[in-house]
Amino acid sequence: MLELVWLIPAFPLLGFILLTAFGSKLGEPMAGWLATIASLGSFISTVLVFFALKDLPAQERFHVESLFTWIKAGSFSVDMGFLADPLSITMCLFITGVGTLIHLYSIGYMHGDKNFSKFFVYLNLFVFSMLLLVLGDNLLLTFLGWEGVGACSYLLISFWFTDEANASAGKKAFVTNRVGDFGFMLATFLVFTSFSSINYADIVAGSSELSAGTATAIVLLFLLAASGKSAQLPLFVWLPDAMAGPTPVSALIHAATMVTSGVFLLTRLNPILAQADVWATGTIAWVGAITALVAATAAVAQNDIKKVLAYSTVSQLGYLFLAVGVGGYVAALFHMITHAFFKALLFLGSGSVIHGMHDEQDMRKMGGLKAFMPITGFTFILGWLAIAGVPPFSGFWSKDEILAYAWNADGVGGKGLWVIGLLTALLTAFYMTRQVILTFFGRTRFYDATPQELAHAHSAKMAASPGISENDTTEFPLVVEQQYVTALSEAPETDEVDEYLPASYRDRQEYVPHESPWTMTAPLVILAALSVTAGVINLPFSKDLHFLGHWLEPSLFANEAHLELSAATKWILAIVAIAIACTALAAAGAVYLRGKYPPEKIERKILADAWRIDSSYAAFFGGPGRMLFVVLTWFDKTVIDGGVRGVAKVSSLFGSGLRVTQSGYIRHYALGISVGSLLVAVWFVTRLFQ
């Protein structure tokens, strides 16, 4: 069975080719079904390979299947070769599993889109690239997948290209990731000069001889690459914008799979991490911790339902980096898997809300949706409990494991990592509770008049009432500022201006938010079940319950850190974490459900702007950065080309004296050359026949 590992990427590749050729003929919904079946075939192959691998003795669970030599020059040679080992197959399982569910969901979500089949072309190409990334037996094939998923991400973010914002977001994602690729390429070169090979097998075998300095350089360069793909500081800015893409894309690419590639890469290279200086891995941990905290604070103040989840994803990925940095590879993979389930669930749930709400994404206009969308509401609540860290939902177990490793890692900053991890957990539970309350509980604010509509109505009324001067605001207070919305807030008063409200308001009154079709809700139900139960793959109570840990052990080459904590410490840490989660739930409930504290005191502007990191970049590259390019362009035109033109001018002045023989017309020179070379050629030819 193991030799059939190539089937895993072959299915989505075949789907991609078929859909490229016949997709528009198949149309809706057949193109979607074809893509879903391709992804399902890949999942089934993965399961078969998984069992075949499991049948081998633990230490022999490696299989390389080479198809052909891809690039070879001198001593450099890489194959199109797939490495099936516990790590890659674990990744494949959730990529194809979650991938299939999201394909199915997309059939419903993309209903009626005129580029329906094209969407599935890209989706299958993405799954193919993602599988190459994790299955590649060398760095270059991983890079092929790495760039492939980046290109698909670009194409899918700008899928609705007529909107400039979407197009910009796609470009931003690609270019920001290229900064990371700079690190990836240099690290690959360094690996080649150190190991004379970039195959993972050779890296593992030769890593013990690697010097700490080189290992540190390689790790830091790969960290740059990983922080691009996995949206960590300082390169996380593209991910919140990437929400411009269709929601299934956000769920699949920007939450469950692609953005975890960086963590996968660092885990794959654990033998190099083991050789690097402690401060290098410490840097990974701290990048993760700080990103987790920064993004969590930003998530608290977002009003767009998807933006909350985007910052939440950045924050949760920070946890994974934290875990990898302190040597908790299994914890990282564990949380990666549970996160894939609950975050995909939450994104798909938000997609279902957006779908049922007439493309509305602003949570201030939602509320009370549980009644309109029972399945979406119920599954979303399960996802919320999982991410908030409430036992026994899956997120609790995996997050607890990471926090335990953070507590354990005194070498790289005392208990600081643990404190930040805990603080992030608190914020996570808070912002997710806020999101659930604003979306599913309280009063339905969908039918309210928006501030813009009210302002419009007031000015319309003013125009229609000749007796009142325009400056007289006492009579009609203009409510332009959007008020802070809680579940308790009253609907704005509209009686006075009722007849002047615009058509958008009236249209909305006719519309009823609705539950999504079964193709969308079925994946929600399955993902919800997984989000609830996935903790069982690595329960902490006994070593025998560490299924994931034992399974991954061969791929980690004993580089996993040892957790030297007593049972009592572990219990205390767990209880602290539960207490923190409950506090956050209660606090969010008090603010948003019972109105005990004004939300505007929490949702500061600077948090909504994510500490203005993105806008600082924009200001720099739009200002001094652009200036540099403008100066270079001016330099090219004026100095370099100007110099050339200057030389030409001077020589023409000198040349004017010789005008008698030199006509100065190029066409005469050209003619001369032509005639001359013709004569030479004729002469050559005549010599041939002598």
Binding site: R61, A73, G74, L140, E147, K171, A201, E553, I640
Partner: protein, 551 residues
């Protein structure tokens, strides 16, 4: 004077035919009614192209030296000979020429006077084929100069905007730079003859093997060659003829200029620079590396700010050619093979880009990026093709732009590390200028004429389809190409090592025994044992799971 014919594999003079067919076509065109000139030219280009494919099939991949050699001495006293040959370095450039010309003829059409237009294109093809196939320095020089003439007339006669200025600049700039090369060629032959005492020769293989010209003389002669090649490539800062020529040239001119003619410069560096003057090349390498890398970053930065789409593509060529210069001056197998591969792939990608820009111009009568927008809505097929070509030009792995660029950087990293680190930033910038241009041209709302632009026509699609196939094929499976390049590059490297002063940098990393899965299994077992011991020493007991025991 005897008729000496050394046909390697073919029983007819294959290489002279490759050159002669386009000339014959040009002569036939003289007597062809204007209506049919396109077909005559296409027939000529196709015939020559088909022969180049025949040559590719017959080419012996294991051989690193010249093949299909044709040699005839014309005037032994003056060392003049009519001598052609092809090896792995020139092979794919000849095939590329054979592919690009027919495609160009199908994909574009002249605005007026089709007869002269097609004649000039045929003469260009002759010049390009001849330059890549010449084994004789004088013959190479002849062809190297000849291509200027039809290109000058194509730009001046069928170009756009300020075409006369652009054509003149192109012609004077490149001709002035190559004038000294003739002096260099003659000096080299004379000095070599004085040294060996044998009869004078311009044969590049004989010269390379036997000449002992060294020191200042060699450096000066090399510089006379280098100046001509630098302008042709073009290397920063002698690149400013390129944006004018490219922008104002008719589409066919741009495609051939970028696809074939620029390669004469980098090919010259390999065949006549490195081969004849290894020591001078090594001594001056820091200068060329610096200029090459500067071109990568500078070309990309200037490309970003262009308002004219065609000018943007022209500057992107400056950046891409910088990579090739870096690979050549890396002096190792990866760098040189990458450079040869990248010459071919740049021809494919940039050729396709110019064809696409030409189509847009034909339809919208503007190349100003600000006047375009939202074209993906009116022309989805063109947008899809553009996307593929753009990603190939950006160097996306899996497409043709990647293997060459990667090998160049890998080779460069071994021998010119810090130059390469800067060169890699060019990878970021390439994404920036092309994606930004794509966004402004194809994304966003479509208004006015942009909303009604005609999509790609079936014949146009057929014309560009071979390039699209090559973009994917050369990205997924470049091995057959590299297999044919490698032996010749090895011969070149061996030659360079023998000829150089002995301290030529051998930067090839040691060959490692591949461990395969056995290495992984060994490592895993070792790790497992260590794990167990540690666990026991910690007294936590063995906690082997049931799955570990399976065997």
């Amino acid at each position: 004077m005897s008729f000496s014919l050394f046909a390697a594999q073919a029983s007819f003079p294959l290489l002279p035919l490759l050159i002669a067919i386009p000339v014959l076509a040009a002569i036939v065109l003289l007597a062809t009614p204007a209506k049919y000139t396109k077909y005559v030219a296409l027939f000529g280009a196709l015939a020559s192209g088909a022969l180049s494919f025949y040559m590719l099939v017959q080419f012996d991949p294991a051989m690193g030296t010249m093949q299909f050699e044709e040699s005839y001495e014309l005037l032994p006293a003056l060392g003049l000979s009519w001598s052609f040959g092809v090896d792995g370095i020139s092979l794919f450039l000849v095939v590329l020429t054979g592919i690009l010309f027919p495609i160009t003829l199908v994909a574009t059409k002249p605005s007026h006077d089709p007869k002269s237009y097609h004649m000039f294109i045929m003469l260009l093809m002759t010049g390009a084929m001849g330059a890549f196939l010449s084994k004789d320095l004088l013959l190479f020089f002849l062809f190297f100069e000849i291509v200027l003439v039809p290109m000058y007339f194509l730009i001046g006669g069928w170009g756009h905007g300020d075409r006369v200025y652009a054509a003149m600049k192109f012609f004077l700039y490149t001709m002035a730079a190559s004038a000294l090369m003739l002096v260099g060629i003659v000096s080299l032959a004379v000095l070599a003859q004085e040294d060996t005492g044998e009869k004078i020769t311009f044969d590049v293989v004989e010269l390379a093997e036997n000449h002992n010209v060294s020191g200042t003389a060699a450096t000066l002669i090399f510089l006379s060659f280098a100046l001509a090649f630098m302008v042709k490539v073009p290397v920063f800062p002698v690149h400013t003829w390129l944006p004018n020529a490219h922008t104002e040239a008719p589409t066919a001119g741009s495609v051939i200029l970028a696809g074939v003619m620029l390669k004469l410069g980098t090919y010259g560096f390999l065949r006549f620079g490195l081969y004849l003057f290894p020591n001078a090349m090594r001594d001056l390498a820091p200068i060329f590396l610096t200029l090459g890398v500067a071109g990568i970053v500078y070309g990309a930065a200037v490309a970003t700010m262009q308002r004219d789409l065609k000018r943007l593509v022209a500057y992107s060529s400056v950046a891409h050619m910088g990579f090739i210069v870096l690979g050549i001056f890396a002096f190792n197998s990866q760098g040189l093979q990458g450079s040869v591969l990248q010459m071919v792939n740049h021809g494919i990608s940039t050729g396709a880009l110019f064809i696409l820009v030409g189509w847009i111009y034909e339809r919208r009568h503007t190349r100003q990026i600000s006047q375009l927008g939202g074209l993906q809505k009116s022309a989805p097929v063109m947008a899809a093709i553009f996307t593929l070509v753009m990603l190939s030009s950006v160097g996306l792995p899996g497409l043709n732009g990647f293997p060459g660029e990667f090998l160049i950087l890998l080779g460069g990293f071994s021998s010119a590390r810090w130059w390469t680190v800067i060169a890699v930033t060019g990878v970021i910038l390439a994404a920036l200028y092309l994606l930004w241009a794509y966004q402004r041209v194809f994304h966003g709302p479509a208004e006015g004429e942009n909303a009604e632009m005609e999509d790609v026509k079936p014949t146009e699609f057929l014309a560009i389809a071979p390039l699209l196939v090559l973009i994917v094929f050369m990205g997924v499976y470049p091995k057959p190409v590299l297999d044919r390049i490698e032996p010749s590059v090895d011969v070149l490297i061996d030659h360079v090592e023998n000829k150089s002063d002995g301290d030529f940098k051998e930067s090839e990393p040691k060959q490692l025994e591949r461990v395969g899965t056995s290495g992984l299994i060994d490592a895993a077992e070792k790790a497992h044992k260590k794990h167990k011991e540690e666990k026991e020493s910690h007294g936590s007991g063995d906690s082997e799971s049931s799955e570990g025991e399976h065997s």
